[in-house]
Amino acid sequence: MRDVAVVGIGMNKWGEIWAKSFRDLFVEAALMAIDDAGVDRLDSMTIGCMTGGLFVGQEHLASMMADYLGYKNLPAARVESACASGGLAFRTAYIEVASGMSDIVLAGGVEKMTDVSGDGATYALATAADQEYEVFHGATFPGLYALMAVAHMEKYGTTRDMLSSVAVKNHHNGSMNPNAQYPFKISVEDVNNSVMVASPLRILDCSPITDGAAAVILTTVDIAKKLGKPIIKIIGSGHATDTIALHSRKDLTTLDGTTVAAKRAFEMAGKTIKDIDFAEVHDCFTIAEIIVSESLGVFEPGQGGVAAQKGETGLEGSFPINTSGGLKSKGHPVGATGIGQAVEVIKQLRGDAENGRQLKNNPKTALMQNMGGSGGSTLVHILEVA
């Protein structure tokens, strides 16, 4: 396996982007990444997208995006693992470069979610759950994470204010991210008094419906040196599945897919969680960030909410999480989210994070965790400044 580096990043402003089409959103981010890397060619492209078919009626998007990117006959593929599609695109591109099959690969992600009604989006997102044994009974995605939240609160005493502190922290970070969908601060009271979606989760516990795209360029460390870019290597990649249905899991208060994917990434990197300076994790709901922080081993089981409330995961905390604003504030265009995480991680590792959200301790090693459904697919990557 060859050493692989990320040499280019591209991401547009995320949000309710009515004026831009599905294809233009992607091409814009892809061109930004190509320009940032300074490469004059691509050997291949992998795009994460959960469901272009249900959101804009467009499948076969690898062909469309390669065409509109101006790369005639480029080998391109779309990969799908629900909300982990972006992370999967990152891993697929990594394997392709590491294997020697291709030298310069674009890993992208895109989702255009606001061309359908809220009900249409709820339906499209619910396809990531078990249609016959969860969705059939009226379960929604906020509902599935609410079931985890109640189980966690019952077992560990996690509180309403602990959940809220995650949203408050992520909005604080996102207020400094020019690409965030909701770059404004909120208070614990705002979250506690927001509209109930699926008890105990309120609207400000939930990540939004978002249009957006992101792209990164992966290449060999040798080529990266010639490009004169900071060398940020991918040193660990872990991928794991778990049961599709939440009720099939032995423990509803952990995310085993995350634990296993992280273990695989750590083993590959020769690292432990203690070696990680900060992380971008999949906070599709506030409870998700709390459980993920425990399943990654950052905090002991049951201590994720306590730590969040104490500020341990803030920019100045012992283990900063979601410096970008996370899915909560930055937005969650499902197929693009995993690549959006990579964009933030690279910015932080380059020392380029905007508006005062740059971590001060010269972070060297970062982790990103991206998951699909109620945790049925998880990707964990570890990146390090060479």
């Binding site: 339906y123 009974h137 009226g138 906020p142 939240a149 699926a198 939440l246 009720h247």
Partner: protein, 131 residues
């Protein structure tokens, strides 16, 4: 919703039929072709017990279109007497009265209607065990 999709699940939704692994005893609901615990492919058909305890629940207020008339409604996971966990709506009680640990009975109920003229989908719901 196409009738074939509902028809395929009728043994589970109407009769709670599950598969029990003939080697390790793992109970698959819905039935599976291969045991995820031991890899054996032979199962015997059993019926799930019709009582259990709620292990977690939520009250859904923002509902998918086919459930908007019922919102707010509760969805929960119950652990049955044999340890199997299944998901269903919790009916016949005030949502405020639902608690983790509450004993429930699984009853045959209508779950979805496909508009005014579509197929009625039947299945199971949890109801509080009052007796």
């Amino acid at each position: 919703m196409f009738p074939s999709r509902i028809w395929r699940e009728k043994a589970q939704r109407y009769r709670l039929e599950a598969g029990k692994c003939t080697k390790c005893g793992y109970i698959a609901f819905p039935p599976r072709l291969i045991c995820p615990e031991c890899g054996v492919r032979e199962f015997e058909t059993i019926t799930l017990p019709d009582t259990g305890k709620i292990v977690t629940y939520t009250v859904i207020r923002v509902a998918p279109s086919q459930f908007t008339d019922e919102a707010p409604y509760a969805v929960g996971i119950a652990e049955l007497a044999n340890g199997v966990k299944i998901m269903a709506q919790i009916a016949d009680c005030k949502v405020e009265d639902i608690k983790v640990g509450m004993e429930v009975v699984i009853e045959f109920r209508r779950v979805q209607t496909d508009g005014h003229h579509g197929v009625l989908s039947y299945g199971y719901k949890f109801v509080p065990k009052w007796y």
